[in-house]
Subunit: 399 residues, 4 copies
């Protein structure tokens, strides 16, 4: 089972990132790069910038891209927005909110946090209360994780915006949309988000290695006035036309070439169609998990049905069941790779990713492989999971 | 539904040829070819020849490869073995036996045929009887289709060999193993087969475009004495070391590079493991079809359970059900491409291919997609098809 | 030197087929194939047919494509056009005319041939004379090789057409354009050619494995009346909409996908631009060979400057020089693969291919590598070959 | 000329990074990634770590890899080694030393610098003098750029090590080997280097996007005691077996898969053979540049022949000649992409990269293309540049 050699056929990648890569993206990356003065480099970067702006629904947001992962992109907003010693409010969403807060603190910033309610989204009232209490406006920004990939719970961005407004607090609104971009609608300008943080390896259907932010005018202004020392991440140094300058050195060219291709795929399918597809496929997974849960050994981690992510579903296992054994068997015997529990959820959940370049048959195969693993391990579950997913998909296709 | 643009994700190819292509094969073909005197060309050809000999279980058989499809490979044996006007016995297996016979006749040869028993394999007794009756030894060869891809019925090669022996007839024994190579064991020398016919696009996990034959000493002798005019297909012209000569012109280089990679995959997995995998996956499909059949609208076309192919399963539909509508919906809505009925079975069956570079999750996804199509169309079927396949796979994995 | 392991970097493929493959073609072939009823298959075939018709300049010609190499495509015209025992005129162009004639005879047809004048194109007057002498119109067709790849001599198609007309002979005019398609203009309808024969691995920038013909109405009529037995090659069986029928079995799908991409590249660049590029690059090679030839050890094989091919240049070597040693060193030490002498020219020439997906820098690198090999072996040659090619290219770029 | 559409054939990439990517690397990256708990991820990372240690000649150095470019890798050593306000000695090598110093200062560190002598390597005596003068041992480290890609001058690492030793100074010795790894020997342990900084896009034959450092025990100790706030770059957080931890989030998986393939290519060829190949190819470029320089308009930027880089050659142009015009024409007309002048050398030089996955024919093609551009623009140059390069290569091949 620890044999790492090739398996026949295709392994089903159902982690919530990295995700399945389309041929078009892989082909675009399977090319010789260009010298940095080649106008094709600037064209590629421009296409990525305008594509991301379109995807994020922003006319005034400026896009900065980095050779980095998502944690690098988090560092970007910390270093650019927060002076050393300043404070940020991070509403509790579980592992990712905790990690972001930890990173802020390690970098010499202070954090204020609202409690995490397991299985539930951010409570906007708590955010409003904290902001109201901050009469000195010590808090510079609210850093909100849209979908916490660890818990598979999606919080309500509009409600958070309203909470900030209701508190009359000037804090910037920063949204980590890493796990939702390309899966769930988000409109930076219309929803009055100051900064959106994203990364390549989820809904954008790219390999990991590219982080980015879209930054509105208020955030750019605040950053310009921020004396915190910074270089690689610094927005003010990344202005100008030269690719070398925009990326503080050599741009991650092949990832950019892939990003251009990935964005084209999204626009060709149509963003609304992409979002609808994610809703339908998430519904199929939810139908299966609902069936599986009947036997009492498994259940949705997210107890609020309306807050269940369209990108990933965390499945709680009863004490005594080892989710890592399920994953190992699903991957090594039945060719389906799902994710495990992170941080406080380690050993308590496994997670099925369902975002990115996926379709109905892929999801059915993944669910079938998980069922085969559950059955092999003697985990009790409602045996009609795939059957319910099939029924859901047939119904949706009829619309 | 006739929109031919890209679908998200990967389409599940479950025709019995072409089949799913592994990355290793695709990558090997994604290379610049070589000039024909490059020793790497000869190395590639030699690797393909020895690999095919190993796969076919022959030490004395010589391999001839062609830029052609399977029908071209049929023409190869007709032109090389049969003088104009001579006779061949083609036992009835359905569409492919009929087509091969038609081709023989169009090329000026005579055919003797045994009747096709729908849903059943070749009856060796009938073959024996025909050969016994041919006291003049007018029949030069028996051309037997191992698995008729149209009917998904596999005939018994050993029994056919015994029938020829029992008749005391000198006819050569030619086996079309196009649909079984890489899926079912076949041992040319041990089973005393004179010629095996194969093609690239099924169990060898290659694109279509390469046909081949392995030819034993008796067949080579008979061919050398055969005055029928021929050039492109002629074995006697294809002898020698030069690639250009071996292929009667430019070899289909990238397909050879792919074949070398495909054979390496088979040997790396282990031929017995490959055969076992095909048995297990076929069992999963059979478990699903058995469940589906409970409602009376669908059934196995092959009524002899022991003769059901490990490569493909033809599913008979009740009158009034259009298998083409099922296929169209499965492909265009649920991303699963299955095959239809050929010749006399057109409109009467659809077929699920399960050979080549496949695994459990892929088969479950394909079955799920077919179920979704059946459900959408209101075809009655036992709803627990995938569930039974999952159960079968979990049981097999436990062994 | 016989080490066949990987070399660093890219080997320069300068044989006149197979040729360098563009990324776009390789990527198009690096895809999963489709089930044969998928409308995408028919779309791909239709795109290839219409693209070839456009490239060949024909509105009324019908395109038939085959899983075969160029020799297979030769067999196509022999089997379809010539009744057994009938006669064809094949003007001498060297190795390829000889080979085609040999194939005709092996297939039971009679050939009439005009003599080959080494280093010179077909003499139209000789063709006219033979046809005038054939008062019984015994000759059914003229099979002319446009560019004989072995000699690198291109004959004048318009002059041949005029010769046939002048003779008042009804013979069909069949042109083998394998080595010129995509490199040199050819207009089937305007130049009144009855059949054009092509293959994938040269100017179309594909791997070998696909042969094709475009067939005008007179040729189709003649074929329909031809009683010669045939099946795989038979045009009359390949009519209809079904892919399976059009290809007498499984179409070579990935090659078709590549052909579609290759044709798109040609049309995107513009056919006239493609032809101009071939003229310019051939001029660069010719400039280098002219310089090399000053020392008396090397020379153009084609003595008629106007008949030198834009696709390939055969270079005669003085007695005592082994062209195979040059090739081996060029390939194994300097990463440039050139071709050798075929048939009567074996050991007498080497050949530099300059057709397909090539540009100035590639040609300069190839010429440089050949120079390094010549120098290493002590072959006398004008040392300013690349310098003259550079001068030619700079001059052409200025236009 | 600003048309950015496809050119026929392959563009020759002769910038000193990004460099030409081998098929093996591209193919390794053209794969689906894995879920992060898949043991194949850990295997890939382990193979990269041990391969880099082998390449860098270190048993005790620990490797840290980052989703970042080379400037990110610079930030890594700054943030880990230097407390805020501490000092570092950066010997002048031109643009890259200046940039690194600027980055140190922007991040709140102090820099001490020795002057840059245009066209010459670092003077070890100056380094020794500065260190001797620093009796308080205020300087924590020496940051030396091995080859300054902008000037194409390589400094002597052993001489620098001796200078530090001679000064009896405890400063750490940090070497930026971005432009030399895989081209020039470097042995971390034997040469007593404390930290080596590298990146993916040059001699390692990968796309840009991966930075790395190898860190010896003294540097790790110093880092552990360094209170400077840091997170993404922090070595102490990147310890442990989990891929997610080692990369502070999602590893850049496909780049790692490519790195593993690239390292395998280097070891398969043999590191010494790789280094020899770089010396030979650099010699060919130098032979051409020496010839070009005879006319007085062009010359080596590096005036110290022994210090000329094996990776890149900067070519000074006479006043009145625009190197950007040369580059543009070379790229857009003759398909050869070379680099331009950076920082103080902008408009004064162009640069030919000759490192990575290159061979003789590629270099000859690149030189030929540059000659065609020079000729087209009327730049005076010795016309026998390629000829001299050919002669050099033939001579070297004879050894």
């Amino acid at each position: 089972m620890s044999d790492t050699s090739r398996i026949p056929g295709r392994r089903f990648l159902h982690s919530p990132g990295p995700t399945h890569l389309p041929d078009e993206v892989l082909d675009a990356m399977h090319r010789q790069p260009m010298d940095l003065a080649d106008p094709r480099v600037a064209d590629t970067i421009a296409a990525c910038e305008s594509g991301l702006r379109r995807l994020l629904g922003t006319g005034q947001g400026e896009v900065f891209m980095y050779a980095s992962n998502g944690h690098g992109a988090w560092e970007v907003v910390i270093e650019n927005l927060l002076p050393i010693g300043s404070a940020v409010l991070i509403p509790g969403t579980g592992h990712f909110a905790d990690s972001w807060a930890l990173q802020c603190e390690a970098l010499g910033r202070r954090t204020v946090r609202t409690p995490w309610h397991e299985g539930r989204p951010i409570d906007p009232a708590e955010v409003e209360a904290v902001l109201r209490a901050d009469t000195a406006h010590d808090i510079r920004a609210v850093f909100a994780v849209h979908t916490d990939t660890a818990s598979s719970v999606t919080s309500d961005i509009d409600a958070l915006r309203r909470a900030i407004d209701a508190a009359g607090h000037p804090a910037l609104f920063v949204v980590d949309a890493v796990a939702t971009l390309g899966a769930l609608p988000l409109a930076m300008d219309a929803q009055r988000i100051d900064v959106i943080v994203g990364a390549s390896q989820k809904g954008l259907m790219l390999p990991p290695g590219l982080g980015f932010v879209a930054v509105g005018p208020a955030a750019r202004e605040l950053s310009a006035a921020n004396p915190a020392p910074r270089f690689y991440w610094d927005w003010t140094r990344r202005v100008g036309e030269q690719p070398y300058r925009k990326f503080c050195g050599t741009p991650p060219l092949n990832l950019m070439m892939g990003l251009q291709a990935g964005l084209e795929l999204l626009f060709r399918e149509g963003i609304e169609a992409v979002h609808r597809r994610h809703r339908v496929l998430a519904g199929a997974v939810h139908a299966a998990v609902a069936a599986w849960s009947r036997e009492g050994a498994l259940d949705f981690f997210c107890t609020d049905a309306a807050a269940r992510s369209v990108s990933v579903t965390a499945i709680r296992v009863r004490d005594g069941i080892d989710p890592e054994a399920i994953r190992r068997l699903a991957r090594e015997r039945f060719q389906v790779a799902v994710a495990g529990g992170l941080g406080p959820l380690a050993g308590r959940v496994f997670r099925i990713g369902h975002l990115g370049d996926l379709n109905a048959a892929m999801v059915l195969g993944a669910l079938g492989g998980v069922e085969a693993a559950l059955l092999s391990l003697g985990v009790p579950f409602g045996r009609d999971g795939v059957q319910q997913a099939v029924a859901w998909l047939a119904r949706e296709a009829a619309d």
